[in-house]
Amino acid sequence: MWHFKFLNICRNLLWPSHPEPSKSRKIAVHRLIFSGFAMLLIFVLIGAQSIALAVSKTKTYKHAYTTIDDRVRGAILDQKGRILASTVPVNILYADPKHIFNPREVASALLPYVPKLDKQTLMKRLTKKGRFIELDRKLTPKRHSAILQLGLPGIYVKPATIRIYPQGREAAHIIGAVDRDNRGIAGIEKSQNETLSSGENVYLSIDTGLQTILRGSLDTQIKKFEALGGAALIININTGEIIAATSLPDFDPNHIMTSTDVARFNQVTKGVYEMGSVFKVLNTAIALETGAFDMQGTIDVSKPIRVAGNFINDYHPIKGSIGLAEILVRSSNIGSAHISQLIGPETQKKYMKQLGLLAASPIEIVENGIPLVPENWSHITAMTVSFGYGLSVSMVQAAAAIAAAGGDGHYIAPTLLRRNTNEPIKKVRIFSTETSMAVRSMMRLVVSNKIGTGKFADAPGYLVGGKTGTAEKVENKGFNRKANRVTFVATFPANDPAYLIMMMVDEPVGQQHSYNYATAGWVVAPAIKDIVNQTAPILGVHPVDITKPENSQNLLPPLILDGKEAVYASF
């Protein structure tokens, strides 16, 4: 049998008996062949293994560290690139109750490191059903290392990300906030959620520096006049960019859950209000543009107008006839109402529509108020709208409309996003250059003339123009004469308006230092002066010498007010 023969050969190779001399050569040949095959086998194995190793897939190395991948939520930045909202890595402390053998022991060991939980709640969580029970979302590095050193089974740490707002309360209403899953729930965070979720950054038109100044000034006035709150914004008249917007009371988006509904309400874009006398600017502009009234005409404003059982009165009664400039400077309701009748309700409505006051503004946040437009735009409506009653609009809408009248006559839709310098700005001409020149001249006189209602807004050198507005608040289907919402709208410099500031204070209370007055001229105008003084050097607005022809030619020749020549200059 061949295998016995093979075994015999193998035995002989390993333990050779004393071979016969005649067989020793044969044995040597067998040994050589065996060694040859063995060597061949080894080489084949090595070769095969080498090939296997060379072509085999490389092990994948799993990340054992926190990662912020490419799809991390984009940041929200202000127009100068300062961070308003950003995402940072955090560690979430969680429990896997299945791995916990003695919850009581674990709870007592862990308790000092989870300050937000008491022992009972912690015990409850450690014995809960489930594999992921969150214990703390913002674990500090110090507590993280201490917990790791405890070496508790079933207590783990998971890397995650969290949204932070380093500027705190500044522009909180504009920025908004996110929920626990980093999805936008308010403001820009919500409206730009798609862009931000894809990892792209969003640049706002807001300038945090100016925002701080605006918020600080508004806050001071609210405290000074014991008001309920207020709102303010600054618009770049030439681009429509909102460079600062604040609504007080406000909230810290880092702790949005602890804020009240009142604090979360955005009075700049969401709240719609009757704006009061600031609308007289629009009435004046429409009158001039349509030719319904000109700079030379006069109107008798001595008698109140009786409308549907009510009277249209002036705050300070004026005797005799006055011109268009004096109607605006003295803020005459009677004069404005008369002019509105010359304009006519249809024409007035047409202009209000063109100025974007009859539909929600195109602002890029979800908190966008829809104007309350009268159903029937009658002659009475035209009268009340002329001095800012009967039509409720948001502050941002009113500011954009007045920017058109008090600027260079173009309407530019307001925006919260930084404009791309290459992108052309859509401008709609509503008022001619002559009309807007007359309007800004008159607005300047509201501030510079001694009979004007906004004298306290005069920041020397910057030719501030403006208009005051004091509107009674609506309460129980009527007006509350004691509760006012005072507004001031200002443009500067009047010869070539670059910026518009609008500020509203809700229910200010007259103080001793204001001789118990709580009108816009006393409450808001001083804040406007303060804001202009602080922001003009930052915005690159130079003090204007109005005596120079290149500056004075942008305003009307001096007008006659109260029998005297009215001057524009403030130095």
């Binding site: 040859g36 060597m39 061949l40 080489f43 084949v44 090595i46 070769g47 095969a48 293994q49 080498s50 090939i51 190793l53 060379a54 490389t58 190395y61 990340h63 560290y65 926190t66 990662t67 912020i68 300062r82 961070i83 950003s86 995402t87 940072v88 890595p89 932070i164 380093p166 500027q167 705190g168 500044e170 945090t208 520096g209 925002q211 701080t212 100044i213 918020r215 600080g216 920041a459 020397p460 050198g461 910057y462 003084n533 602080q534 003009a536 050097p537 130079h542 003090p543």
Partner: protein
């Protein structure tokens, strides 16, 4: 037999070569991953540092500090002048002319 042995040798050499190449690639891959990890970690640090920097340089804080520690105020309009109001230095040509020609002027 010689052919077999030679083939084996070549296969063994190629195999070893491939094996070493793979080892090198593996090593490089590991370095790459390590670098990626480092970049990721640095990016994270960057996020945190940027947020911290923004928090510390927020205008509200700077305004408060500059008011309380430095007593700084806004620039008043009297201190802002147009560039034309600054007296300019006399031009070089005038200097040259006054000196009686280019040769006499020491630059």
């Amino acid at each position: 037999m010689r052919f077999v042995l030679l083939s084996c040798l070549i296969i063994a050499m190629l195999g070893s070569g491939l094996y070493f190449a793979k080892l090198t690639v593996d090593e490089q891959y590991r370095t790459l991953k390590k670098l990626e990890q480092e970049i990721s970690s640095q990016t994270e640090h960057n996020y945190v540092l940027k947020a911290e920097w923004t928090f510390l340089t927020r205008p509200e804080r700077l305004l408060r500090l500059s008011n309380s520690l430095l007593g700084m105020n806004s620039i008043t309009p009297e201190r802002i002048l147009p560039i034309s109001s600054i007296p300019m230095r006399r031009s070089a040509t005038k200097l040259i002319k006054n000196a009686g020609g280019a040769k006499n002027v020491a630059f």
